[in-house]
């Protein structure tokens, strides 16, 4: 069985047509969230921090928060929303009475999560740029990191969602996985400067750290081509491995 892109796009369009109906309700919080973060932590806390990594604290926060926005955008789609479509609404059972196959469902959902992540991330980027925190035009390269972050967290989320029996388990995912990632992945402080030499690998394991480091490089806050290549490789390889795992689970859950 292979993926049929037209069928996957039909699944994508299902979600898009739902989103479009309430687009302004969905979009508005995306603009306010970054404003609150930048005002409170960037400017409020930042007033007590002279400089961070050679720049103002608000400017240090900006690239990381763009990636966090992409992470959140993808995560909501492939966790609660996907699980409800799968188990309560039985939307996929209806799709499977048509030529749509489980692989098409998976690809359509991933594409949609990446789309959603890109909308979130791009909104955040726009606000950050309006605050004058994105050095243009170099920082525009961070726009390419947003869908990568979306893909990574879509893959992680969908693999989790397809392997859990009950919706309550998502509170573990958000509280014990995404929240620590948010707090420790180089967004608020340079994690690797706080780790002892033997523990630097811990930082490399964290999925959010890689898109954040890429975005930081785009914002002109250091980095090297070698590190960037490793970050992209990490994102692609981990996403591919998790999607392969999710593919088996999707077939098992939709077909018996």
């Amino acid at each position: 069985m292979t993926v049929s892109l037209p069928h996957a796009l039909a699944v994508w369009r299902r979600n898009a047509s739902m989103y479009r109906r309430t687009w302004w309700l969905n979009l508005l919080p995306n603009f306010f969230e970054p404003v609150f973060y930048l005002l409170s932590i960037g400017i409020g806390v930042g007033a007590y921090i002279h400089e961070m990594g050679g720049t103002s604290y608000a400017a240090f926060l900006a690239p990381g928060l763009v990636c966090v926005a992409a992470m959140n955008g993808a995560s909501f789609e492939v966790t609660y929303n996907l699980f409800v479509r799968l188990t309560y609404e039985k939307q996929y059972d209806a799709m499977l009475t048509t030529p749509v196959q489980p692989d098409d469902v998976l690809v359509g959902e991933i594409l949609w999560a990446v789309t959603r992540a890109t909308i979130y991330g791009a909104c955040f980027f726009l606000v950050v740029a309006l605050f004058g925190l994105a050095p243009l035009p170099g920082a525009l390269a961070a726009l390419a990191v947003i869908p990568l972050a979306g893909l990574l967290f879509a893959a992680i989320g969908v693999a989790f969602s397809l392997h859990i029996p009950a919706i309550e388990l998502f509170s573990f995912y958000f509280t014990l996985f995404l929240t620590p990632l948010f707090l420790f992945s180089d967004v608020f402080f340079p994690l690797q400067e706080r780790l002892a030499g033997g523990w630097l690998w811990v930082a490399e394991v964290l999925p959010l750290l890689h898109p954040v480091r890429l975005a930081r490089a785009a914002f002109g806050q250091g980095g090297s081509w070698l590190t960037a290549a490793w970050d992209v490789t990490y994102i692609v390889v981990v996403s591919a491995a998790l999607l392969a795992w999710a593919r088996r689970a999707m077939r098992a859950r939709l077909m018996s």
């Binding site: 739902m18 059972d93 209806a94 499977l96 030529p99």
Partner: protein, 307 residues
Amino acid sequence: MIVEARGVRKLFGPRVAVDGIDLDVAAGECFGLLGPNGAGKTTTLRMLYGVTRPSAGTIRIFGIDIAADPRAVRRRLGVTLQENVQIDALTPVENLRVFGRYHLLRDPALGARIDELIDFLELRSHADVPVQRLSGGFKRRLAIAMSLLNRPELLILDEPTTGLDPAVRLALWARVRDLRAAGTTVLLTTHYMDEAQRLCDRVAIIAAGRVIAGGAPAALITAHLGRDAVEVDCAAEDEAGLLAGTPPPRHRLRSGRRLIAYVDDPAPLVARITQQGGAAARGMIVRPANLEDVFLRLAGHTLEGGA
């Protein structure tokens, strides 16, 4: 043959859901799978359109092996699931648009087809009302419309009228007849015997995953029971006396004090009971025997009672 299933079995762990079923449905036919909840009807349907894999046996739809090319088969069939799966926030027209895309339908063909189906299922008055505000009858019409978007050659209906009021059931039966007149092959499951008798050319009665009888409804009734059923209140010990002097019934069923005698010609028995008078005569009902009686006879319990 549109549907050709041979020796189909399905096991879920140690539980046998379907236990060796053969089915043949010819082009243009309306075929009914009858049986109580849990008999294996839905599992059988799911295997036919390829989302449940048989543990054994082969299934060909339109002559195509469903295991080999499910996409090719599903392009040409439509399925109305037992539960309505719709997007509550969207209107019927919007739901049809979303669903039409799964068949890769595009405008203007998609719009034209939706328009036809809105008329065909009499959804026009509610075409732009969000599904969450529709009655059960309108939701069911929409579900059937969704399964017709691709002009299916085979329409599979899983309990199409369960829980609907009589007027809606009549309307939906009329639509099924229209589709058949236009050449669509129909395969439905139901536990309503009247539905099966009105719509189906042939039925298969399923209990505990096996076909226990099959054929045309009228033929099944005459083969197993007799044309009419005579129901009376009569204690078991009085039964022989009550029936004395009449031709022995083809079959007798008893439920407490209620006796049902199946006969091809009810006249002698009715005359005898009327002549005796009393409680038996007062509570007597003479009616045509139906598929429900056939099921009672073959499975030894009622359809609604479950397997």
